[in-house]
Symmetry: C2
Subunit: 215 residues, 2 copies
């Protein structure tokens, strides 16, 4: 461990170099950290994450893309792991829509979510991270609470619908949520792109009414 001097400059409780985000010890003196560089680093991280994936993502690549020195990154994040987690956490999740109708709320939330997929790095970052999670327990552990929080407003829509009596009480809420999001997941992972908000209406209609012809 030859990085003693640097390591002593981070908060002791976060000395684990594989997980922590670094902070300044004394905050009132010296040149302040550049907020522009900070944001540029996070933006570059998301862009590269979508372009080359997590494994091929390197701190050097992020530094070049962001136009900063590598030291500027290592001064804030101990490795690419916490850097990626923080960058991902800043991406938008589901919005909590509550207009009193399951069908309406689902369509509204999903439409906005798919628009976010097309207008942010979400659409490219998501598959990369999901694929990496499968064989990276450390990343999986750190991403899981973030992913769960992003999903929560969506699940809440179903809970309210069940409270209103729109859904039978013996229906598994999580399964129902997976059923609605499922086709988006399939489209995202098994075909490339084409996540148009126009797919929302037929998707929600089919999930709510069922595949079988009603008799």
């Amino acid at each position: 461990m030859r990085a003693g001097e640097e390591a002593e400059a981070v908060a002791p409780a976060e000395a684990d170099r594989t997980k922590s985000t670094r902070r300044r010890m004394t905050s009132s003196t010296g040149r302040p950290r550049s907020e522009e560089a900070h944001q540029a680093i996070l933006d570059a991280t998301l862009a590269l994450l979508g372009e080359v994936g997590y494994s091929a993502l390197t701190v050097e690549g992020v530094a070049q893309r962001a136009g900063v020195g590598k030291a500027t990154i290592y001064r804030r994040w101990s490795s690419k792991l916490p850097l990626v987690v923080e960058a991902f956490s800043a991406l938008p999740g589901f919005e909590d829509v509550d207009a009193g109708s399951l069908e309406h709320d689902l369509k509204e939330t999903l439409r906005k979510y798919l628009e976010a997929f097309n207008s942010t790095a979400l659409g490219t970052v998501f598959p990369s991270l999901a694929g990496e999670r499968a064989h990276n327990p450390e990343l999986s552990k750190l991403i899981e609470p973030v992913a769960r929080a992003r999903r929560e407003p969506f699940v809440r829509i179903f809970e309210r619908a069940r409270a209103r009596g729109e859904i039978s009480s013996d229906v598994d809420i999580d399964l129902a949520a997976d059923l609605v999001v499922g086709p988006i997941s399939v489209t995202l992972f098994f075909r490339g792109g084409s996540l148009s908000p126009r797919m929302v209406d037929p998707l929600v209609d089919l999930a709510l009414k069922g595949i079988l012809k009603r008799g």
Copy 2:
């Protein structure tokens, strides 16, 4: 291009080193290629693909895992790309079940498919490849026809059901298929493992009957 001598030993039509699988020119003389080594290489590829992912997969790692020399691999595949494609192609896909009932056929096919997920490398390989496809057009292009062929028997179940009148003619078959497979995709990519065949019945029931309470 310093590999002139080697390159001349492959079929001319497959000289593109990034995509082709190599073949012997003269097949009747000399020591024959080891079928054991061939299979060991494919097995090692699948195992490592699940453990470290596509980006971190190296020919050197495959050679060590398979207990063969690196030259033995390069003699057959020009790079890890065609190696991975061939290894993936050998994994089981959906079985075509036809017992005359949509509900029965779906449950039967999915149960067998999920069993394959748990008993083969499928469960770990799939997320890795899907994540890589998002930012690797070359891999995506080669995997796509394989993935489509694997999915086809599943779609055919829906087509037969529509011909029997179980499904309304205005239902999008592909969307219906995505709806049924969707929760499996979500479970696989967003949570780890836990792909029990026990989830099949409630999943199919909900997808066929719909989330909304019938009235």
